[in-house]
């Protein structure tokens, strides 16, 4: 009997004006904007490939391990077309370095910050597949649900149906099933159209994990639409008139889709203020002063030197962006002793800088977590979180990436230590042999001639065995991150349906 009711409702819904308009709008929006979003992804991917290639080219020119400062980039997520999340807003690169004074951009976490190239574009909200579903499909769900019970009462068909030997539970389950089937039609068409258009773009290549995550996104989308449908069903079962159910439903929709997501940010900012950027910068400046003070003290203990003939390396424009071509034995001693000290000193201070940055970022994250917790009152926020987690464009994925970069930094350091006899080899600073150093030291024209000679014969290091950072996200990780919000969304559905059921049991069908 449930199936009969579901089939009848489904067919009736398919023939309504609202269903046709809602479906057309949804599909048209997807058809227009998925190619635009795919093109945007292609451009970002191209930029990423270019930057990776540039970095590799620079690595091929490195002539001393001291200036081995690879930059790692975060690959744009292909599923950002579905849900952009925070991907465009967070930094997507981190520079790794040890032998030079730690700069902000050499500590991965410090890169966490607004990465907007043009800050004035912040006035525009993000547009993606998620927005179409969140707004258009939820509105359609409400329009389908609001008169599911009340209209039948108004038309008198409800009392007729219930005069047959069928329970109210069966009627309501039939309506739920009909709603799900009805809404699954535009959702499925929109997903299929979106996927077809996406696959037609040459830049898009979907792997097994991507397909699995897309399937999960589809399920999450259905759950979200069903949640809004259940709310509509509840109002329809609570009120005697369909127009009242519609008005109540629409106000709920405005609150949950528009007001709550904004209000959560306000409340979180009000009740959990973050450390100011200025206070953090002051702390950093304080550590920098300490750093310089200690650096000068320790440098005084080293053998005299530091005036070796150096030339610009491939990484121009900052402290230590050079490599030493030639030096006399005294200089070599200075640099060899200094190297170990320099690296350990910089690593120690990099950690201190990171602690300050980490505390700051943590205070931001606490505020964000509070906003997310409050936002779970709204199915729209739950849906947002789920989709971002599955697309790999949420904050958790970014944190996971920065953690991976920090581990990679240790890997690179271990690699350099391994190649340079734990930084004791002169190779750390120069490729000149000791014999060459002595020969050049004998001549008075040490600097100019030796540099010219060294530049000719010094070859770039072979860095083919340098470990490269690989980062990817699997379905398990995506599911793990989305699980909590998905579960709450499911619970929301169950709660709303239970309330609808209770309301329908007490519903006066006359």
């Amino acid at each position: 009997m449930i199936w009969k009711i579901a089939a009848k409702e489904f067919l009736l819904n398919l023939m309504t004006f609202k269903f046709v308009v809602g479906t057309i709008l949804c599909v048209v929006l997807v058809a227009i904007f998925v190619p635009v979003l795919a093109e945007d992804y292609r451009q970002r991917l191209q930029q990423y490939d270019q930057r990776v290639a540039d970095n590799e080219a620079k690595l091929r020119q490195v002539k001393a391990y001291r200036v081995l400062t690879p930059t790692v980039y975060r690959r744009p997520q292909v599923l950002s077309v579905f849900s952009q999340g925070m991907e465009k807003r967070l930094a997507d690169s981190a520079k790794i370095g040890f032998g030079t004074r730690p700069d902000f951009d050499k500590i991965p976490e410090i890169n966490a910050g607004p990465a907007e190239v043009n800050p004035y574009l912040s006035i525009f909200p993000a547009f993606d597949f998620l927005l179409i579903f969140k707004i258009v499909m939820s509105a359609l769900a409400l329009l389908v649900a609001y008169d599911a019970v009340a209209r039948e009462r108004e038309q008198g068909t409800l009392s007729l149906s219930l005069s047959y030997p069928i329970s109210r539970a069966q009627v309501l389950l039939g309506k739920l099933l009909a709603g799900l089937l009805t809404l699954a039609v535009p959702a499925t068409i929109a997903f299929l159209v979106g996927l077809l258009l996406l696959l037609s773009s040459p830049a898009i290549a979907l792997g097994g994990s991507d397909w699995a995550r897309i399937a999960m996104m589809y399920v999450a989308s259905l759950l979200f639409i069903l949640a809004v449908y259940n709310v509509g069903l509840l109002f329809s079962s609570l009120t005697g008139s369909s127009s009242l159910a519609l008005i109540l439903g629409l106000f709920f929709w405005v609150v949950s889709i528009i007001v709550i997501p904004d209000a959560t940010v306000y409340l979180a900012r009000r009740f959990l203020p973050v450390t100011s950027v200025e206070a953090k910068d002051e702390q950093i400046a304080g550590i920098e002063k300490l750093f310089l003070h200690e650096w000068h003290q320790e440098c005084a203990k080293l053998p005299s030197g530091g005036a070796a003939n150096a030339t610009l390396g491939p990484f121009h424009g900052g402290n230590g962006d050079w490599f030493i071509l030639v030096c006399n034995p005294a200089e070599a001693q200075y640099w060899e002793k200094g190297a170990a000290f320099e690296v350990s000193f910089n690593v120690k201070y990099a950690r201190k800088f990171w602690e300050v940055e980490h505390d700051y970022v943590e205070s931001l994250l606490r505020q964000t977590r509070l906003a997310r917790a409050i936002g779970r009152l709204s199915p729209a926020c739950l849906y947002d979180n789920t989709m971002n987690a599955l697309a790999g464009t949420d904050l958790a994925d970014y944190q996971s990436w920065t953690q991976r970069v920090r581990d990679y930094r240790d890997t690179v350091l271990a690699y350099i230590r391994n190649k340079t006899d734990n930084l004791r080899s002169p190779l750390y600073i120069t490729q000149c042999t000791q014999a060459e150093q002595i020969t050049w030291a004998k001549g008075d024209k040490f600097a100019e001639e030796a540099t010219r000679a060294a530049e000719k014969h010094t070859l770039p290091l072979n860095l083919e065995d340098l470990p490269r950072l690989t980062y990817g996200m699997g379905i398990a990780q995506g599911l793990q991150r989305a699980a909590a919000d998905l579960a709450v969304l499911l619970l929301f559905n169950l709660l709303m349906f239970s309330l609808s059921f209770v309301a329908f049991l007490r519903y006066d069908v006359r």
């Binding site: 004006f17 910050g113 004035y120 574009l121 179409i132 519609l246 007001v259 306000y266 973050v274 505020q367």
Partner: protein, 474 residues
């Protein structure tokens, strides 16, 4: 008859659930918005004045020698505005911290507390409440104003009398607007009570005149939705169909179109990436360096010896080259900043097909907030730089020991005494203070947008009129 219909419409609405909901929503949202805004304004003002005083103290310290004034790196911040509660203009997300001296200005940055990990949000200001919630309420009031009466049969009854259709249409419009005005005014009244009780600075007539301007614009804006609601209601056979169409129209006009701005900006306008910007600066600098090397500024223009009378230095040549270099770099920075603004403008121009975007822009212009204010602030700083330099040059004229050349090279200017070392009167030194546009100027800027809102009204009124004139009431 006209007023009888108006009265009937209002009374019918007053008794409905939608009206009660609209009142509750309006009061709660306006109260919450004003409370949050005033609270934030206080905190931001305190921080703003602390920074301004810090900057001024540093500036005063430099006034012991005239030549130092032009090289003090000043910080200017966007001043918090109490009228941000009417239209915040997403200023929290926009750059509002400017660092500059007498010659250079860096690209504006985002200052203060800003949590970039939070989800994007809109300002919960009056413009947000009116543009989203009250426009929606307008649809909820209007969706069945014609087709609903047809369904109940009262439309035939009214039209069987001597009432022309146009009178009925206008009476319904006036009735709906007056009904809509009640939640709006109740919300505004609560907001103003909170504002006045909070003691926030609203001295003078101008802020109040701006508030009145925003309220009047709000009516013009809400009127569009009432006309659109009537138009769709006059096209639909059943209220359910009318609501479905209106809801989808609302989604498109208020959510989808404004969200497309970013895509349009990215697609049709290009701002330089940070790498391209740095490259442009390096190229400009290289050109000047080449000119120095080629002797375009005279012999020894690149030399920096300590004695200005030494023939191996050339203060005037160096000044000429340095000034050209600074101007070239400033042109690159200005062009980059203009490109960024133009890119945002491209998106905004496209999204103007949504009345909500036009309305918010008008509110921002009247309240002196938003992206236009950022542009104005940048220009004001540029003007101030020129005034500061003019002041230094005019003060310098009375010092016979000075060479009377001001250029962007602090050590050389001091070493060669190209500008006087005597202390000026600090009170006479120009200080930067942000100036708001006068109300007249704001209205002048907003006139096209106001015209656009009026045009939307006209189009939808015409649509409603034609549809209703042809409406089959049977």
């Amino acid at each position: 008859m006209f007023w009888q219909i108006v009265r009937k419409e209002i009374l019918e609405s007053l008794l409905s659930v939608r009206f009660t909901l609209a009142i509750v929503f309006s009061i709660v949202l306006f109260a919450a918005s004003t409370f949050f805004s005033v609270d934030r304004y206080r905190a931001q003002s305190q921080e703003y004045w602390r920074r301004v005083n810090e900057n001024l103290t540093g500036f005063r310290r430099q006034s012991d020698q005239l030549c130092k004034l032009a090289f003090y790196e000043q910080n200017a911040y966007r001043q918090p505005k109490v009228l941000a509660l009417c239209a915040g203009g997403s200023e929290d997300l926009l750059p509002g911290h400017f660092t500059f001296d007498g010659f250079d200005i860096s690209l504006p940055q985002i200052a203060g507390q800003s949590n970039f990990t939070l989800p994007r949000f809109s300002d919960l200001d009056w413009a947000f409440i009116i543009s989203l919630v009250l426009s929606f309420t307008a649809f909820v009031f209007a969706y069945d104003c014609i087709c609903g009466e047809k369904e109940t049969g009262t439309l035939r009854l009214i039209l069987s009398g001597a009432t022309p259709r146009v009178t009925l249409l206008l009476a319904k419009y006036v009735g709906l607007m007056l009904t809509l005005a009640i939640p709006l005014f109740m919300g505004l009244a609560v907001a103003l009570i909170i504002l006045i009780a909070s003691g926030a600075e609203t001295a003078g007539l101008v802020p109040w005149a701006r508030v009145v301007g925003i309220v009047l614009t709000s009516f013009l804006y809400l009127s569009i939705f009432v006309f659109l609601g009537m138009f769709v209601s006059a096209r639909a056979a059943r209220p359910a169909n009318s609501m479905a169409a209106l809801l989808l129209a609302w989604v498109v006009l208020l959510i989808v179109i404004p969200s497309l701005g970013r895509l349009v900006s990215d697609k049709f306008s290009h701002a330089h990436t940070p790498e391209e910007f740095q490259r442009a600066k390096s190229e400009a600098q290289k050109q000047i360096d080449d000119r120095f090397i080629s002797g375009a500024y005279g012999p020894n223009a690149g030399a920096t010896g300590s004695n200005r009378d030494d023939p191996s230095v050339n203060p005037r040549g160096r000044a000429q080259g340095t000034i050209e270099g600074t101007e070239a770099l400033n042109r690159v920075v200005d062009a980059h900043h203009e490109r960024m603004l133009a890119q945002a403008e491209a998106g905004r121009r496209f999204t103007c097909i949504s009345p909500a975007v036009v309305y918010r822009r008008v509110c921002e212009i009247i309240a002196c907030t938003g992206i236009d204010r950022s542009r104005s602030l940048y220009r004001q700083i540029k003007t101030y730089q020129q005034n500061l330099r003019d002041f230094i040059i005019s003060e310098d004229r009375s010092d016979p020991d000075s060479l009377h050349i001001l250029f962007d090279d602090a050590p050389r200017v001091a070493e060669w005494t190209t500008i006087s070392h005597k202390p000026p009167s600090f009170e006479a030194v120009p200080k930067f203070l942000e100036r708001d546009l006068a109300l007249g100027e704001s209205l002048g800027l907003a006139v096209w947008d106001l015209g656009l809102l009026a045009l939307f009204n006209l189009v939808f009124f015409a649509g409603a009129w034609i549809s209703f004139a042809r409406y089959d009431v049977r």
